[in-house]
């Protein structure tokens, strides 16, 4: 496929066939990741900056591993000790990175729109690894890829996204991706954790977890940030766990073979019952494995786009 995009900022940039291509390619890389020798030379000589202004372990490690398995050189830039902490503007940090001529910058930042801010200013590819509450397209792609490995099709499937949708970039990107692929999407959260004007989203909105999970084929639990309670959006964590935490009883009316997912890191016993995280229908560790394969795919597509289009 002729990859026409310079940057990956949000799912809506992609077409269903491009997403399908990502999944097909990721399946091949997933196979590479099962080999004794996992390194392939396709991005040899390419350099990727991992610019994680906001703390991240799994996403950053996943990108790092993806880059290294393709033989790209990866360079990390974290907020602590970086120039951002010394008061340098995002623009100057970006221009400084650009001057070092990397082939791609993977950015995680606390402000919505930060990835686009870089993409509008820099010539190299920008991969959004999470910007504020806005988008986390690589997470959505790995969620979709994970489900594509267990489902023949997304048509006719129903997915419930449970938890703090308002402040979740994962939820926004998952809604875009899953609806684009033909799944029906539900969101379930206390009203204080639903985004403004959620009625304009292509989703069904629930406040009761049991009802939200009736007839679903997968549940994606979202991490609850503990500061939401301090912000007055929740009474307390015990109340949240008892009312909105996913428990086995909520899944009694789910479709047979319902899958449990979580983007991590999990608060066990808060948004998800521990036994569900570990049960046979949990895909949580499959998501982590898929993350590496999907990010290998994305680095491959975005870093070789000029050769493809030439």
């Amino acid at each position: 496929m002729n990859w026409r995009h310079k940057d990956l900022l949000e799912i809506s940039q992609l077409s269903p066939s491009e997403i399908g291509h990502v999944f097909e390619t990721a399946a091949r890389f997933a196979e590479v990741n099962q080999r004794p020798i996992k390194k392939v030379p396709i991005l040899k000589g390419k350099s990727v900056v991992l610019f994680f202004a906001e703390a991240s372990t799994r996403t950053k490690t996943s990108f790092d591993m993806a880059g290294k398995r393709l033989s790209a050189d990866t360079f990390s830039l974290a907020k602590s000790g970086s120039s951002l902490q010394k008061g340098e503007s995002l623009k100057d940090t970006a221009l400084t990175l650009q001057a070092m001529n990397p082939d791609a910058i993977v950015i995680r930042h606390w402000d919505s729109g930060a990835a686009r801010f870089l993409a509008e200013r820099l010539e190299c590819s920008i991969i959004n690894a999470g910007d504020g509450w806005h988008a986390h397209p690589t997470q959505a792609l790995l969620d979709g890829f994970t489900l594509s490995r267990v489902w023949d099709s997304f048509e006719g499937k129903t997915v419930c996204i449970l938890g703090d949708v308002a402040h979740s970039r994962v939820a926004r990107s998952d809604v875009e991706l899953l609806t684009m692929l033909g799944a029906r999407v539900r969101v379930c959260a206390p009203r204080t954790l639903l985004p403004a004007a959620v009625s304009t989203w292509p989703v069904e909105v629930f406040s009761d977890v049991g009802r939200a999970c009736a007839g679903v084929d997968a549940v994606i639990c979202l991490r609850l940030q503990l500061e939401r309670q301090q912000a007055g959006l929740l009474p307390d964590l015990r109340e949240y766990a008892g009312t909105y935490g996913l428990a086995p009883r909520h899944l009694e009316k789910a479709n047979p073979g319902v899958k449990i997912m979580h983007p991590g890191p999990m608060n066990r016993g808060l948004e998800i019952a521990s036994e569900l995280a570990d049960c046979g229908s949990s895909l949580i560790l499959d998501q982590v494995a898929a993350g590496v394969a999907v990010r290998m795919t994305l680095l491959h597509l975005y870093l070789t786009r000029s050769r493809v289009s030439a």
Binding site: S89, L90, K91, H134, W201
Partner: protein
């Protein structure tokens, strides 16, 4: 006939071809074109341009003292002169805050030095010391030094008891209180209108009721105290409805809005365009329509720019990090003319909204084209479109969504007291 020393020939006043006769800095008469020969007077050919009274902007931020890298009084007044504004009411959120006579005098002196013949700065004093909302600022001292109103603009007074006392105290000096209406808690930290777009972009929203709640508070206080209040930069339908009802009941409330609220809605945020980050935020299409209706009917009395210049690098950040504000003096009349062109307003509305009613509210001089009025006027070319490039904008603040876009209508000359203060 009184002495005539300046004759502006061939101008269009509200659809009529006219000559304007000026003597000793005042309007002598506005007559039909060619009706009068004024021997000995200097004659200027108006070339058929549109005549407007010099405008008054009741809400600008000139940034001096303290933030001269954004704007200074000289650059702000130069944008005012070129934008058609003869008087600008400068808000108090300078550094130091304009809460005492020495800051007021400094502003007036700087203005007189830069533009001795005008445009004029009309300072707005702080309502509370340091805008901190704790103690009343010395209204008497501020009035004597030249302040024409008081406001805590940008930092609304949370303490309603103090706000009530400030209204009462200011009234004794004939100073109107201008209130920036924003609930201190509801939507705190929000960066755009709360709604579909904020939800999609993942930005914290400010609901329109945050403004309307304080509008309601102010109306209730104004009604209870029978004291006037002027409501700054109204942005939403709920506020318009409250003001309309209050005016029907005779509450002494007046209100302003800005061209950007009449022209643009929240969709202009697009993909995090910081040039439209402004407080209050751009609202919905429905709010835009309510505001247009309100300025036509007079529910909203006047237009202001809320001219808020910033340095380019300050807006070249993420949306959440960007300061609020649009630089407005250079383009306000062009943007208003867009509304005239689309039939939303006519030129009589422009004179009322940008000059006459403003002068009524704040007790300022204005040219109503009557004999004896100050000969403060603008010659405006409605057919000349121009590109609002960084070079074309006279303000230091290039932070406008119009930057590098074509806008219609251009001020060609600006006279104050019968003297040309600007021409292009």
């Amino acid at each position: 006939m009184a002495h005539v020393d300046l004759l502006i020939r061939n101008v269009s006043w509200q659809g009529r071809d006219c000559d304007l006769l000026v003597g000793d800095g005042k309007v002598v008469e506005l007559v039909d074109a060619g009706a009068v020969q004024a021997s000995g007077a200097r004659v200027v050919d108006g070339g058929g341009l549109m005549l407007l009274p010099s405008l008054i902007d009741a809400h600008v931020h000139l940034r001096e003292p303290g933030q001269e890298y954004k704007e200074d009084i000289a650059s702000g007044l130069s944008a005012a002169a070129g934008g058609g504004f003869g008087q600008v009411m400068a808000m108090a959120n300078t550094s130091p805050v304009n809460d005492n006579a020495s800051v007021t005098r400094l502003m007036l002196q700087k203005a007189a030095l830069a533009f001795p013949k005008g445009p004029w700065v009309r300072p707005v004093g702080a309502l509370t010391v340091g805008l901190a909302g704790k103690e009343l600022a010395p209204a008497g001292e501020l009035a004597r030094a030249g302040c024409v109103a008081l406001s805590n603009d940008g930092v609304p007074v949370e303490n309603t008891e103090l706000f009530r006392r400030a209204m009462e105290y200011a009234a004794d000096f004939g100073l109107k209180v201008i209130d920036h209406c924003e609930d201190p808690w509801l939507g705190r930290g929000g960066v755009m209108n709360e709604g579909e777009i904020s939800g999609r972009l993942g930005l914290k929203g400010v609901p329109s009721v945050s403004e309307a709640m304080q509008v309601a508070r102010d109306i209730l206080l104004a009604s209870y105290l029978n004291l006037p209040i002027h409501l700054a930069h109204i942005s939403c339908r709920e506020s318009v409805e409250l003001i309309a009802r209050a005016k029907e009941r005779g509450v002494p409330v007046t209100a302003e809005t800005c061209p950007h609220y009449l022209l643009w809605d929240e969709t202009r945020v697009g993909n995090y365009d910081t040039s439209v980050r402004v407080n209050p935020p751009l609202r919905t299409r429905d709010d835009v329509l309510a505001l247009r209706q309100a300025v036509r009917t007079g529910v909203i009395d006047i237009l202001v720019t809320d001219h808020a210049p910033h340095a380019a690098h300050e807006k070249e950040v993420t949306f959440a990090d960007a300061p609020n504000g649009i630089s407005g003096l250079d383009t306000a009349l062009s943007l208003t003319y867009e509304l005239v062109r689309s039939g939303e307003l006519d030129f009589a509305d422009v004179a009322r909204l940008w000059c006459w009613r403003t002068a009524d509210i704040f007790g300022l001089p204005a040219n109503r084209m009557q004999p004896g009025d100050p000969a403060d006027f603008v010659l405006f070319d409605p057919d000349l479109a121009w590109v609002a490039s960084a070079e074309a904008l006279l303000s230091k603040g290039k932070n406008t969504p119009c930057l590098d876009k074509e806008v219609p209508g251009r001020v060609m000359a600006h006279y104050l007291g019968g003297e040309e203060v600007f021409s292009r």
